[in-house]
């Protein structure tokens, strides 16, 4: 059973419909448990007080932002190299999810930073890299929108995704480089305090909850993209007959 087993759209749709309820249920349960642990069970930090709870949504959001881009890049590579017919749809479907989490990472990072360092925004290495990642997502989605021909848009977006993927480590490195040169007066640590076991569980569960949510949402969006592709094909066929 190779990757191309799932290339058949009908087979994919059937599989997606079967997995979806499980992913949704898992996401819901994990989310409830994670939120409870984050908001109630986890202790307040000695230094940061209750604001440390924001870490339980900020860090998993940042993780998802990066995970989604990796997913997008791998799917794009599969689309370009092996020409798997669903791979470009998977990439396209995952982009808004990644962009959403990137946005959340930025906003929660800002809300976490204000009580701690007094400003709504700090140009620390992590937030700056996430901001640039946000631009990469926006550019990717804009390119899909801008090119009218669906197949050409898919290929162009795939090229852009891979170019972006190669650049992400370079950008991350250069931003870290930049940050160490312009080290601000106080050492900014957006990772929060040393991870205590009571801190670890909410973090991991929230991270898993986000991942399950991603799977469920991805399947919905992929089915939608598949339908849109079929619609376009039908419209094209109609116009030429």
């Amino acid at each position: 059973m190779s990757m191309h087993y799932f290339a058949n759209p009908t087979r994919f749709t059937r599989l997606a419909e079967r997995i979806q309820p499980w992913a949704e249920g898992l996401a819901g349960v994990l989310l409830v448990v994670g939120l409870y642990l984050a908001l109630v069970e986890a202790p307040a930090d000695y230094q940061q007080g209750d604001t440390v709870r924001i870490m339980f949504v900020h860090v998993p959001s940042a993780w998802m932002a990066m995970f989604c881009y990796s997913f997008l890049a791998v799917a794009s590579a599969i689309a370009l190299i092996w020409k798997h017919p669903l791979a470009d749809l998977a990439a396209k479907a995952s982009a808004p999810i990644g962009a959403g989490f990137t946005f959340l990472a930025l906003v929660t990072g800002s809300l976490w930073g204000k009580p701690m360092w007094g400003t709504w925004w700090v140009w620390d290495a992590r937030l700056t890299s996430v901001l640039i990642l946000f631009f990469l997502y926006l550019g990717y989605m804009a390119l899909w929108q801008a090119i009218e021909d669906g197949q050409k848009a898919a290929k162009a977006a795939a090229v852009l995704a891979l170019v972006g993927a190669v650049n992400v480590p370079i950008i991350k490195f250069s931003v870290d480089w930049w940050n160490t040169l312009h080290q601000p007066a106080s050492v900014l640590r957006m990772d929060g305090p040393a991870i205590h076991p009571s801190m670890l569980w909410p973090l991991l569960i929230m991270a898993l909850a986000f991942k399950a949510y991603f799977v469920a949402l991805l399947l919905v969006r992929m089915r939608m993209e598949l339908n849109l592709r079929r619609i376009r094909a039908l419209q094209l066929a109609e116009r030429t007959t």
Binding site: A142, A146, E148, K152, S174, W177
Partner: protein, 221 residues
């Protein structure tokens, strides 16, 4: 080699004939740099502090604005397609056109930079680093920009989209370029920054034309 040089020569010839592009890039460079003292105030110490960054950002923007003439005109009148029929691989064609683009955009910017650095009261220790980083970095701007130009070829009024695609990719070049000049100004070792910048450009030379060619191919299909 002959056909490769022929493409460069052709593009240079066209650029000279049309004349405007280099002039416009230089004027834009000058204007943008002028905006900063007007916006921030003419205090020499502050200008000197921001000079490396302003020069690099302005040069970067000027380079980016000139990218659309890399492929657009040739694509529209069919000459791009003709070039592919010449037997030269598309990647080589792209590289040749990029070199011509740099000669007509990056090189003039590089030559104008020291003059503008004087306007911004940049410390004299930074001039050598400024020229060196621009010499190494502006080709990277043309190379990376070619990918964006190729991807947005079929997009109507794709200039803004081009900026969105290309500017994030320019950031490492910007960071290494500016930090090299800053290091030189403060008497620190600029070598690591310059080496990183060089690595970027060297990596861009084989990789960018390849990616841009893949994108151009899409538009020609």
């Amino acid at each position: 080699m002959k056909p490769f040089m022929a493409v460069i020569a052709r593009d240079l010839h066209l650029a000279v004939r049309q004349g405007g592009a280099t002039f416009l890039a230089l004027v834009f460079f000058l204007l943008t740099v002028t905006l900063f003292p007007l916006g921030i105030g003419p205090e020499p110490a502050i200008l000197a502090r921001i000079a490396p960054g302003v020069l690099w950002v302005a040069a970067l923007l000027a380079a980016m604005l000139s990218l659309d003439r890399l492929f657009q005109a040739d694509f529209e009148d069919g000459s791009l397609e003709q070039l592919t029929l010449s037997g030269l691989p598309l990647g080589a064609i792209v590289l040749a056109k990029t070199i011509a683009h740099w000669l007509t955009t990056g090189l003039p910017l590089l030559l104008a930079a020291p003059i503008l650095a004087v306007l911004l009261n940049m410390d004299s220790e930074g001039f050598a680093a400024l020229l060196l980083t621009m010499l190494i970095g502006t080709p990277a701007l043309s190379l990376i920009g070619a990918i964006g130009a190729a991807l947005t070829l079929t997009v109507r009024r794709g200039g803004v989209l081009l900026s969105l695609l290309v500017l994030p990719l320019y950031i490492p070049v910007l960071i290494f370029g500016v930090s090299a000049i800053d290091a030189a100004v403060h008497g620190l070792n600029a070598k690591p920054h310059v080496l990183l910048l060089t690595a970027l450009t060297l990596a861009a030379i084989p990789l960018c034309p390849w990616a841009a060619a893949a994108a151009v191919k899409l538009s020609l299909e």
